[in-house]
Point group: C2
Chain length 207, copies 2
């Protein structure tokens, strides 16, 4: 069990910097893998299938739901987003820590199914900072920007259900905080059982 | 509440390196204070009253117990060891994180009284390493060495009750791990409530 990877749930409003943060975490922690989410939404110009998302039809997505193949899934702006159970299980069994970039609804589903998972909410330093980041991304219409900010407020109100809340006022500090959390979680006594048992067995031999 | 300090319980067998670790933590984290324990045992030659321990008579110690002035206390090798409640409360109210270097019995009492405290057990890399450290300290008779090793085995068996277990095979790595734990604990969502509320109040003003 102690060699099994950690399941890390990362959430935050659109524009909170999740993708940048995750890329930086990968660059300094080679034992972490991102579970690529599945979605029915159209790919943006810069997005690559199976790298950014697994893009599938709504028909295919619903078939996986009905066969219990989704660890979590949600609907957002008319599209489905979800995490394939088998791909996450495979990575964790291989000892890899897995980061899931999912929304609040998904985080709730994961906490119910995987009580051993670690959930982290990325909090923007201010609502103004979040708004300006979304505008900079310039993939938003005024209507979708308004909708995303409204959604952001609701998500921040749900941040209390997460294990940890990290402020992204500085990306490097935010990444350092998340790496701190991951390192600390691995030192939880229930994850150190095998090592404790090892020292105790020496004690017995020493008697 | 968010400005109140963290109560950190640090335990480990005699010879596990607690004192060296604590001194190094102080040198890199200026917001941490050590609560000096009170004891009825005789001071060693290198020990200074009120720096290493508050040395008192058994009569005085028992009076403080009866007046509920002890956060925790225990008896070990015929002597009393304890933590004065008022001195810990004062430090935490001033926003200082407080490290208590106490034994397993004390840790259990703290966990009951302060559910918000963080407990860390220092695990020696091996029982041989622990034994050689005690011999090097050369303050031990053969009898007390035998007694301390027996006690160490019992303490390691109790390490499961701690929140975290850190191996002291390398002091700097061990100190880094403990600082990681402290930083991560401060990011727990219930300790971030005030900051979350601050961003949410901006959201309301933004509506």
């Amino acid at each position: 069990m102690s060699n099994k990877g950690l399941l890390i749930v990362l959430s935050g409003p659109s524009g909170s910097g999740k993708d940048t943060i995750i890329e930086k975490i990968f660059s300094i922690n080679k034992n972490i893998e991102k579970s690529v989410s599945m979605t029915t939404r159209k790919a943006r110009n810069n997005e690559v299938d199976k790298r950014d998302y697994i893009f599938v039809s709504e028909k295919d997505f619903k078939e996986i739901i009905s066969s219990n193949g989704m660890l979590e899934y949600t609907q957002y702006c008319g599209n489905y987003y979800g995490t394939l159970k088998r791909s996450v299980d495979k990575l964790m069994e291989d000892g890899k820590d897995v980061i899931l970039k999912i929304d609040v609804n998904g985080a709730k589903q994961i906490k119910e199914k995987c009580s051993d998972s670690v959930s982290i909410f990325i909090l923007p330093p201010s609502i103004e900072a979040l708004s300006s980041r979304l505008v900079k991304r310039s993939t938003e219409t005024d209507e979708s920007l308004k909708r995303r900010l409204e959604r952001a407020k609701q998500e921040i109100e749900s941040s209390y259900i997460y294990d940890y809340v990290v402020i992204n006022d500085n990306v490097d500090n935010c990444v350092r905080d998340i790496c701190n959390i991951i390192n600390a979680e691995k030192l939880k006594s229930d994850r150190m059982k095998n090592i404790i048992s090892g020292v105790l067995s020496q004690c017995k031999n020493h008697q």
